[in-house]
Subunit: 88 residues, 2 copies
Amino acid sequence: METELLGYAAGILTTFAFLPQAFRMIRTRQARDVSMTWAASTTAGVFLWLCYGVAKQSLPMISANSLTLLLLFVILFVKIRDRGNPGS
Amino acid sequence: METELLGYAAGILTTFAFLPQAFRMIRTRQARDVSMTWAASTTAGVFLWLCYGVAKQSLPMISANSLTLLLLFVILFVKIRDRGNPGS
C-alpha cells in the first residue's frame, strides 16, 4: 500500500511537470518547441510503459501513463497539423 | 520475462527520447529551454519512480529511471549555474 502511494506521488510529479509544456502547445497551437523524433518516441515509450503497468497490475503506472499518453496524443496532433505550416 | 522485455523497450524509448535535449544542454551549457519548475519536479518524480521500481523489484524501471536521473542531475547542475548568468 505504501509502495503504491510512492508510485502515485511519482506519477503526480512527472505528469504535472509535463502539463505546462503540453498546455502551452495546446493553447498556442504551435509545436516548434519539441521535435517530431521526441514526440513520436516518447509517445511509443509511454504507451509501452502503460502496457507494462497493465501487465504488472500497477495502478499508479496505469493512471500516470494514461494521462501522459492523452496529452502526447494532443501534442502529436498539433505537431502533425503544424508541419504543413512553415510560418507557424 | 516477456513483461520485463516490454519494460526495457519502454525505458529505451523514453530515455533515448530525452537524450538529445540533455546532450544539447550539456554541450551548450545553457538550460534556458527548460524551466526550473520542470527540472525540479521531474527530478523529484523520476527519483520516486526509481524508489517505486526498487520496491517493486522491477529491473526495467530501476535502469531507465537511474539513467534519466543521472541526466537530470547534470541538467539541474547546468540550470543552477546558469541562474547567475543573465546573458547566457
